[in-house]
Structure formats: structure tokens, C-alpha cells
């Protein structure tokens, strides 16, 4: 039958309330009611969103806080790791120079009093005395108040604070940059020859000549010239030349011992007391007249 437009309300109502339409309306109503009762629409949407969750961005207020927390943790971790690295390196240092190398500007290091004492004891006596009187160190160490040591750079100088348990400074030591440089040179055997060090260029003697003159000094003065003969003895190779610096610093004069080890040459620096070195120089010059700056070439020819 062909469809035609309802001509009156009766026809229209008849069609509207036809079984087929009622079933459809009931079906739609049941969908609405079941949604109200069972929230299936919300559950479906929710389940879809759960399924796609991992593909969505980590955005929004709480994620931003989370990211900031992670960034903050990373920043702190870096600060702590850097600090711990420097502390570890400093604690592992066996020489004063190694320890100083680990101190960066604005990043001091903290050592136990025990550790610092050990490093202090590795220094040549004359240098150690310049840093702090061993008797003062002994006093602080024995009364038990010195617990830790804090070292920091102050410009080119080094500041050392001996601290008690409450971080109060018991003693403050200041090491000027020239002394630090000197310690570094003492600690390290410089690769090269005495000619590489301008302060020695005027007074370079053959080892034989130097030690002959040294023997002329009274026995009790020998250590005033060569404070650590044991250190020189421990070096591989043999001493070929000795230089005496033109400059005196705080009552001390630097001596350079050039050591030949196979084909390599290196210079060990030590400090001698000014008066003792002057005496030695007079012996050296008496014996030879003027110091021989060409000893190296003579030696080389030998």
C-alpha cells in the first residue's frame, strides 16, 4: 500500500500508537531508563578513555607539579652528586695538591680532622709549619674539640677552617696563592729541565759539585738546606744537576734537583732555609768562582 499523509487526528493518532511505534518508543525509553539506572553511557565513555589513557599528554595542574617535582629532584640530585664527588675525591686525596685541586670556587669541601691531619703530615715540615704550627694542631687534636675541617677557595687563596662539632671555627688558616703554587710544585715532579724554570737560570750546578759543597757544611745544617733527602732518595733515576733560586720567600730559598730517569728529565723542588742556602752558595762559589750555567751541555757531552 502506498504511503499517504494522515488526513485527520484520528488517522494520525492511529498511526502514532501503532504497535511498531510503541515498541520503538518503549525501546528508546528503556535505553534512557537503563542509562539512568545503570550509567552505561558514562561507563562506556569512561572505559574508552581508560583504553586511550596512555596515548594522552601528561598535562594539567597536577602533572605540572609532578614535573616540577621531578625537575627539582634532579637539580638536587646534581647538587648532591657534585658535592659528594668532590668530597669523595678530596677524601681520597693523598697529597695536599690533590686535595686543593678538588676545591672549586664557591664549593668548599668538608673533611674529618683525621683526614686533614694525615694530609698535613704529608707536607714537608717547612711548608707545614707555614700553614699551621704543629703544636697548635697537636693542641686542637688532643683536646678533642676539633672534629671537622672545611676548606674553601677565597679568590686564589685557600681558607681552612678547623671546626668543632657545632660548626664553630676553632682556628682559621689562610694559605696564600703563592704558597699553594709552591706546594703544588713540591708535590709534583716537574717534567723538563732546570732551564725551564726561570728562577734557577743563574745558579745551576752539577750534582757532584753541589753535593761536594754540601758536605762542607756542618752536619747539623744539612737538613736546613735539603729538608727531605729521603724524598730525593726515593725518586727513580739519579740527580744530575741542582739549581738554586734567586728569590728568597719568607726565609726560605727554593732548590731544584734535576733528575735523569732513562731518557726523561724532571725537576724536584725543595725549600732550604735562607741562611743555610746562602752559606752553601758561598761554598759553591768559592770552589768554582761563578756558577756554571752551562753544566748541562758539559754533562751532556760527558
Amino acid at each position: 500500500m502506498e504511503w499517504y499523509e494522515p488526513r485527520d487526528f484520528r488517522e494520525w493518532a492511529k498511526r502514532l500508537f501503532a504497535i511498531r511505534h510503541l515498541v520503538l518508543i518503549l525501546f528508546i525509553l528503556s535505553i534512557f531508563i537503563s542509562e539512568l539506572r545503570f550509567d552505561w553511557f558514562e561507563q562506556t565513555v569512561g572505559s574508552y578513555l581508560v583504553a586511550t589513557n596512555s596515548k594522552r599528554p601528561e598535562s594539567g595542574a597536577i602533572w605540572e607539579i609532578g614535573h616540577r617535582t621531578i625537575t627539582a629532584r634532579k637539580t638536587l640530585d646534581k647538587i648532591v652528586t657534585d658535592r659528594q664527588f668532590l668530597q669523595r675525591e678530596a677524601r681520597g686525596a693523598t697529597t695536599f695538591t690533590q686535595m686543593v685541586l678538588n676545591i672549586l670556587p664557591n664549593k668548599g669541601i668538608m673533611l674529618s680532622s683525621e683526614r686533614f691531619r694525615k694530609i698535613y703530615l704529608t707536607l714537608p715540615q717547612t711548608i707545614a709549619q707555614k700553614i699551621a704550627s704543629p703544636f697548635e694542631m697537636l693542641r686542637l687534636f688532643s683536646d678533642g674539640s676539633w672534629v671537622r675541617t672545611y676548606l674553601e677557595k677565597a679568590g686564589d687563596d685557600l681558607k681552612i677552617y678547623l671546626l668543632n662539632a657545632h660548626n664553630r671555627v676553632l682556628k682559621e688558616l689562610e694559605i696564600p696563592s703563592d704558597l699553594i703554587q709552591y706546594i703544588e710544585r713540591v708535590d709534583m715532579a716537574l717534567t723538563g729541565t732546570l732551564e725551564d724554570l726561570p728562577s734557577f737560570e743563574n745558579r745551576i750546578y752539577s750534582a757532584a759539585h753541589f753535593f761536594a759543597a754540601l758536605r762542607s757544611l756542618p752536619q747539623e745544617d744539612l737538613r736546613s738546606v735539603v729538608s727531605q733527602p729521603e724524598m730525593l732518595l726515593s725518586m727513580p733515576g739519579h740527580i744530575v744537576r741542582v739549581g738554586i733560586s734567586d728569590e728568597a720567600v719568607s726565609g726560605f730559598i727554593e732548590l731544584g734537583f734535576e733528575i735523569e730517569d732513562g731518557t726523561k728529565r724532571k725537576v724536584i723542588l725543595l725549600q732550604g732555609r735562607e741562611w743555610a742556602v746562602w752559606t752553601l752558595r758561598s761554598y759553591l762559589e768559592e770552589k768554582e768562582g761563578e756558577p756554571n750555567t752551562n753544566v748541562k751541555s758539559q754533562n751532556d757531552r760527558m
Binding site: G46, V50, A61, W63
Partner: protein, 687 residues
Amino acid sequence: MAHTAIIIRMLRIVFYVALALSSFAALAGIGIFFVAVKDLPRVPEPLIRIIETPPTEIYAATGEKIMVIGGREFIPLSRVSQHFIQAVVATEDHRFWEHHGIDKLRTLKALWITLFKPGKVQGASTITQQLSKNLFFSFKRRYMRKFRELLVALQIESQYSKREILEAYINQIPIGVGAHGIEQGARTFFGKPASELTLAESALLAGLPKSPTRYNPYIHYDRAKKRQRVVLLRMVAVGYITQAMADRASYAELNLQKLPARARTGSYFLDIVVKSLEERYGPNVVHHGGLKVTTTIDPQLQSQAIKSLQKGLIELEKMMGVHTKTNESSGEKVVGPQGALVAVETNSGAIKALVGGRDYSETEYNRAVENKRLPGSGFKPFLYYTALEKLDINPATVFIDQPVTIPVIGAEDWSPRNFGLKHEGPMILKRALMKSVNSIAAQLVEKTGPEEVIRTARCSGIKSQLKPVYSVALGTSGVSPLEMASSFATFATGGVRHEAFWISRVEDALGRVLEEHIVGGKRSLDVSLVYQLVDMMRGVVDEGTGSIVRRLGFDLPAAGKTGTTDGYYDAWFTGFTPTLSTSVWVGYDKGEGLWDTRGMGITGGHGAAPIWADFMIKATDGEPHREFVIPSDIRLERVDLITGYKANDSTLNPMRIALREGQNLYENIVGDETLNDSTILFPSWAP
């Protein structure tokens, strides 16, 4: 018939239009859904993971926690009072346990009200929607934001159990006074864990998240109580409690913890702590890194400092006849004078108390640190030290208090006047400081030069810019109370300067040390000269312009100096014992002097010294009588305060002075070659 056809046609049109619109709406809904889903934030797994951010905790020197920045204290639902859970559910979303993220009936009702009742907007957010909003979205009212918030709520409902959702919700809601989450809230307001909250307390706290500021019980107690009543009635309506229980809870007394007041105890102080931390580590680390910061503050001293300053300012207002109050009609606030107090431990530089104004909640401007005010005569100790050092004079050296005019190259002559505009004639140097005689100070600075005075001030710890002019000796360059307290501490330690500090240790959340303060002093002033100065400053406290301190009952050995500026804009008193140096400043923030009801100017001795005394009496309570250490080359003598002659039985007004090795009283009588063209008195007039 034709009429019926028209109606049917109309109905048909309406039906098809409705069908078309519905189809369009459905398609648009699907489109909007996919657009909204595109940028929808990811929901974390588990939900609580992102709530757990470590707080930065700031501790006092005594170990007491004084501030927590950021962070959340997460607790499981089992550790929350059942009353609170019920109160929250009843108030915020009573069908929480039934719906799936959206309360459709409530939403329809809210929609009806919003659309058909002009001027009324009703919210229908469920707890899940609120959680979604708080965790992921801004608070801007936008339809798309609202829709996304709903979608995330639906996801949260599908992904987590109701208990997990409620747990996350109550652990992040803002309760007020800086507390987030119920555990922090319960501890902040009632000093107890969330598990022990009573019905009345639970109802109060459950009502706060709606507007933590508006219902803050510390400020608007009545409003908070009304809100509590609303919550209780909701609980009755939902059936969680009976009306009788609600009534009892409503009338129950609330023992609000005084913690918020205490948390504010160090607010000015905490400001400088947080600022320092942010400068060193950056704001992100401070607010999200979970630092453990140990400061130098002593909570008891800090609390006392606040009380003393507030009490002193009230007394000052009475003296002046003004009151800090809000004018009800205009709403304008009549603001009285302000003040600041800083107390520094002398042998370390640690700040033990710092108050930067009368009330932090009114003004956060930190007058203890940022306010560079003229110290007036409070600066004279730096001049007197310089004079003792450079002019080879001693405290018994005699000067004449008389009008002086000092020529200034390229400027007008300088003619400082005495405070009382009177001149007393001859007097010894110590008395000149005790009486704060400007004419004698001017004579001294003319001899020493302002640069030397500035050098002494710098050695002592003054860092502010100081103008190299004669008047600098009379305090015409601005300094802060913190600088004054810190620099006077250098006098207290015999010339050993300690940098003022407020953070002693910083650790990360795992307890790894980031920094420690090394307490080291540096000798910057001569110990014997400092003792001579301190002895003169003791005279200020015992018998001079600061003697009110003694009259108020402070009896431990102390030294100090008052300061008052022209026009009475600033009143200072800075003084110290061997262990504690404290500076007090009072004055208006802008352009008003301190005048009493009789029209007399208020000096440092009357405006600031009483506050100092009140604080120091409490701060040093129980401390032993501890004298300033006398250096070995110092000897104490008694002299006539006018002639400077050694006192004998017939001396009417003997005064104790301190002399260094090599200094003797005879020199005072014959005068000093370096100064005999000046105003030092020679014995022509002497008996």
C-alpha cells in the same frame, strides 16, 4: 478539515525539525567529544602517586617545625574519622556512592535553575568532578573545560574504586590557612590526626573547602559556625546523623589550635629564609624539592619579640593619642606607627628573633631588613670608636659642648644642634656619648673625617650605602635594624665580627647535606678600644639617654645607644648584653613624626628603648649575670665627669671610665698636642 491538515502539517514540521536538531546535536556531541578527548590529560596510575610531593620543611634552631612549603601528607581512608567522610559526602555529593561520576538528577536540577531562574547559578559537581578539576584543570569557567572535567571524572570512575577516589579527594582539598588535605587540616586547626576528629570538628572542616578564606574560623568564627551548621543539617538530611546529634555538635565548643598564629610567628623571618633559599636553589627546588631547612630562630624569643613589639606600639599609640583602626564609614584604615625588632646572638651572628612590622597579615613589608631608616645618634658608637682609635683620646678626655660650625668645602657650613638645643659646657667624652651631645660628635668627626667613621661602620657589619659627609656620624645615611643589631654584636664580642645568618643547615628529602653554615668570627676591631666604647655605651644604659631600660627592670650588664632623627621620624634603641644584641626601630612608614599628646617629640629612649627592655627582660630570663670581658691592658678608673680628673673623696659626680695601657688621666689635664687647636678643654678653667 483544512484546519486539521494545517495542524498536522505543523506537527510534522516540528517533528522533523526536532529530529534534525537531535541528529545534529548528537553529531555535534560526538564531534565535541573527540575534540575534547584529543587534549584530555592523562590520568596517572595510581592516582595518589602525583599527590605525593615532598614538602620543604623549615625548622627552628630548637628543632620545632615552623613552616611547611608545598607537599601533601597522604593518609589512607581508614585513618580518617568516619564523621568527616560522612560530612564531606553529605555536603559535597550525597549520591557519591551511587553515581558514576555525574549526578544526572542534580545536574538537570542545576541546569533548570541556571536556565530558568535569572541571576541564579547552581553547581552540580560531584566529588569526582571536583577531584578532576583540582588535579587537572584551571579554575576558569569555560564550557569546554567543564566538559573535559566531566570526561576525566568519567574515566576516574571507570579506573578507580569509590574509596580510592574519595581517598584522593580528601587528601588534596584545600582546608585553609595553608593546609591541604584532611590530615594537614586536622593538625592545623585542631592539633590532632584526622582519625580523631569529632563530629563537630569534622563538620567544621568539611564546610571549609567551599571557601577557605570566607569561612576561616580564625577570622570569621561566626561564619564558620553557620557553615558548620549547614553541614550538620545536610548530614541529618542524608540520614547519617540524627537531629539531636547535629544539635549537640552544633553547640559543642571548638578547641581551635593556636597553630596558625604560631605558624605566623616567624613570617617576616620566614620570608627572608624562603627568599634566600630561592636565590640559592631556585623557586622550583624550594617549592617542590622537599628541602629540610634548619634556621637560627628561637621560637620562644620570636614569640616574645612579637609580643614586646606589639605591646610597645600600643603604648606608643597611647602616648601619641592615635589608634590603629578601620574607619567603619569610609573603610579606610587609620594606621599607627610601625616597628621592627631584630635580635642576634653575639658570638655567632645567628638571628634569634626578627619582626618586621606590627602585623604580618596587614603588611608584609619587612622593616627589619628592607627598611633603611636614618639611625640618628644610634650611629655615634662608630664615630666614638674611630675617635678613640685615630685621635689618641680616651673616655676621660674633656670636650666643650658648645655651638659648632664646621666649614664644608663646596657646600654650606655644617652647624649641628644638640637635641635639647642647650649646651652644657665641658664634659668628658663618656658623658658626651651618654648624653648624645651632637656638638661634641661634630667636633670628633671633623677630626677623624667621615671616611674613617664609615670604615669603622663597615668593619662592624654595616653594609648599606653611607654618604661620606660629616653628618654621617650623626646617622644621616639609612641602615636596617638587622644591620644595627649585627654591627653592635661586633662590639659585644670585643671586636670580633660574625656575619648575620639565618640558615644553619639545608638537607634534601633524603637527608643529604646541601649546605652548612660555618660559624666563624673575624677580628675587625681592636679589643681594647672596643672595651672602652662598650664601657661608654654601658653609661648610656645605666645613666644616659637609654636609662629607661634600667627603670623598667632590666638589670643585666648591657650597653647600647639611642637614636632619634630630626622631626622625630625615627626612634631607635640598639643595645646588647655579652650574648644577645637587639635593635628596635619605631616610626611611621611615610612622612610622619612621632609626637606625644603634649606635642613633644618621642625619642628613641621613650619610643624604642621600652620595647627593647620588655623583650630583653624576657629573652634573658634565667640567664646568669655575665660581664663583658675586660682585656688585660684595660684598667678602670673613676673620674670627675666634668674635669676628667681622677676622682677622690670630694668628687661630687664620679664616673667610671676604661683606660688602655699607656693612657693616664694626667694627659687629659694637659691636653693633647694633636687636638689643641680644637675644642678640647684645657685646664685654664679647671679647679
